[in-house]
Symmetry: C2
Subunit: 448 residues, 2 copies
């Protein structure tokens, strides 16, 4: 069913390329950030696994092709185009930055090299998949940074933008450093650890709060988290404490958490439950957590929902997908945009990462040691060749480890919850610069 | 695959209800807005069709149940619970406000009456489905209002929160008044009209701009929309104009649209192409459109992407799902929350809409004529009874018509792009008020 999850113009252009005899030209497109979102100093690349699944399974069903045939935009398309579409599979190459890697504007996250039509059609899905998960993984890393060692769990499925968004948000949030999600499908499909015990409706469904707590403990034993604020938080905590062990702890979902968490801690301690933990949830975000941690509120875990799963302060990522090279009849043409504000780098590229800065290079440049003798990390790696997977993709646990390590390698200043100047340094190599100048000169000599 | 797209706590509570012998208690939950999003005076209900599809198809696969059995949270759950889950189908009732209807805080959008476990498990999916589409339909209605009769097309799939979000955003935007979407899957699945012709990469893939235009016209004829800003907007427009008819018109994707659209209009008119249209796109939103319309820029259509598909200024909706009644052994108990800020109305409810205001009533109240003799519209209608669909759901065209008519019926002030005081009036009936007072009294007399 993947075929039609794209913008119509990808398919009209496909028909046009076919009509213009350009079906076999080989295009290279790169997917990258035009700019960082507000108050962010990096973006964590995520969503590659779903992008690969899409590329390996892309095809058009007969019913989908019939649908296209009846659209006014395809009335002049040649019949052979629809046969072509019926046979279409992704036969090209994909190189990608590993999931969990921090990236910066202009650095390719994916590079697609394929027959022009294939490379064009996949644009929309790749942007949506990579853009959304990268946005959530980035947001999660901010929340986790704010929590300074306390656990963070993603709770936002109910406010995510569609059911699928909830599942993918759970995955991306884990990659970004959360310890897990409430989304069960994210656990089932991807192995993300899942958390959650009871809601207010659980408590309300019993005639008394203590009865609801007793039944919960019976079911969950040491995993029991009592939601204590349905009626009165302190009274609820006393009732929970009266049941003694086993329990994981209590959850507070409303109120002034600085004061409440201290009073709740005292009640638990007085009952000898020093090992019972306190979780808070309810409209949390990185800034509120920053304050709670600064105030040394005795909170062990944060449940973060809406603001995390929708990246509410920056709910979209400026990812773009641009044609950088086109080969036909053995001739290669480099393309770029030179209009104001939207200038891009021509040609297929690679990124070399040194401690504290990156080099943006032409794809065939060899990595060079830095003046200090450092070997760079080569960010883009082959993933698909001629339509076949050539790399074993890591699981979410490995991706999360990679992200945590890569973030630790970033200069600490860039972990800030606020935009930092100067931005992380991404420098073009001399060869890339000279390619750009050459392509720009051709462009200025005469608009094609 | 629907079963596990939910929060884990719904399933632990389900196991707990089972263990506590509450599986056959009958619960009524209502899904409603806690408050309006910023700068909105109404929300357009959308997503019912997908909610119904979910309720009619919800079940758990054996592999999903095996997954649950291995989670630490289910180690004490009785084996019979998993058998119960394997047989679980939605056997309850659903009442709902028709899609496309403007709704206000506290008014039920959906009412679910079902065995407690079923009604609990479905919460997460229903919130995500109704919340997201209602948010986008509402945003679309603002953009369409700003465009004051000019066409608006939804272009945001690439920035939507996941591929599925893009498809559903296309549907919801059409319901909210757009004339269509770029998302082909939304056309294929739901019949939403689809639009789109070519991107910058189309132009760049040819050696010259005029050649790319000629090929596009050959393919699209009267549907041709030339994207004229790849190199220079005015030169591009002259080249497009030189090809003459047939064409739909041109699209501008960058620059100062007030000035550019006038210059482009002049070029088209001088070429005798008075019927050629101008579309603009690129970071559009309702406020920019408001200004362009005020400036009388000669623009015929707007393509609105990122800000529409992500409702960027208000990227989530405060929809909640609350237990309002619980029946066991023939006894009915009413539930509500009375904590500060979060007070809710107990009991199953109905909404009666009069011209300019609504009454929130107990479910079994008869609609009354207003003092002016007006018969109210009864908003919640039966959709599912005992797990079976009992109403033919309207198609997206009928829903869109309903939304346009319903918005026209609202006092004009509430169409404003800014929050208006006083808010649209939603008044409880005397019976509902007295039920609330009675439940609150019981609550204050002694926390359960």
């Amino acid at each position: 069913m993947y075929g039609l999850i794209t913008d119509l113009y990808q398919l009209t252009m496909a028909a046009g390329y076919f009509l213009a005899g350009k079906a076999n030209e080989v295009a290279t497109f790169e997917l990258f950030l035009r700019r960082l979102p507000p108050e962010r100093n990096y973006v964590i690349a995520a969503g590659l696994e779903q992008a690969v699944d899409y590329l390996l399974n892309l095809h058009f069903e007969p019913a989908q092709i019939d649908y296209l045939k009846h659209l006014s935009q395809f009335q002049r398309a040649p019949a052979e185009f629809f046969d072509y579409l019926a046979r279409l599979r992704f036969t090209g190459d994909l190189d990608a930055v590993p999931e969990g890697t921090p990236v910066f504007p202009d650095e390719p996250i994916l590079r697609v090299r394929a027959p022009l039509i294939e490379a064009q059609i996949v644009e929309t899905y790749l942007l949506a998949t990579i853009g959304f998960q990268s946005m959530v993984a980035t947001k999660a890393s901010r929340v986790v940074y704010a929590a300074a060692g306390r656990s963070v769990i993603e709770f936002g499925t109910r406010r995510a933008h569609s059911p699928q968004a909830g599942v993918l948000a759970g995955r991306a949030a884990y990659i970004g450093g959360c310890i897990g999600t409430s989304n069960v499908q994210a656990g089932f499909l991807y192995g993300v650890p899942v958390f959650g015990t009871a809601a207010h409706s659980w408590v309300l469904s019993f005639e008394s709060e203590i009865e609801s707590f007793r039944k919960l403990q019976e079911l969950l034993g040491p995993s029991t988290v009592y939601l204590v604020d349905t009626y009165d938080t302190l009274q609820g905590t006393r009732r929970a404490a009266s049941l003694g062990r086993p329990m994981w702890g209590v959850r507070l979902d409303s109120g002034n958490f600085v004061e409440l968490s201290r009073m709740v801690r005292r009640i638990l301690n007085e009952a000898g439950l020093h090992d019972a933990r306190i979780m808070v949830s309810g409209d949390m975000n990185e800034y509120k957590i920053l304050e709670l941690v600064r105030e040394e509120a005795p909170i062990d875990a944060f449940g973060v929902g809406t603001e995390l799963a929708t990246s509410a302060d920056a709910p979209n990522l400026a990812v773009i997908y641009k044609l950088v090279e086109l080969e036909s009849d053995g001739r290669k043409r480099y393309t770029a945009k030179f209009s104001t504000e939207k200038e891009t780098w021509p040609g297929a590229k690679q990124v070399f990462r040194y401690t504290g800065y990156d080099l943006l290079a032409c794809v065939d440049e060899e990595p060079q040691r830095s003046p200090e003798g450092e070997e760079p990390e080569v960010l883009l790696q082959p993933v698909i060749r001629k339509g076949e997977l050539v790399r074993r993709l890591p699981d979410v646990h490995q991706i999360r480890e990679h992200a945590l390590r890569a973030l630790e390698r970033l200069p600490r200043a860039y972990r800030s919850l606020f935009g930092v100047e100067p931005a992380y340094r991404v420098e073009p190599t001399p060869r890339l610069r000279s390619l750009r100048d050459q392509v720009r000169r051709q462009y200025l000599e005469g608009t094609p």
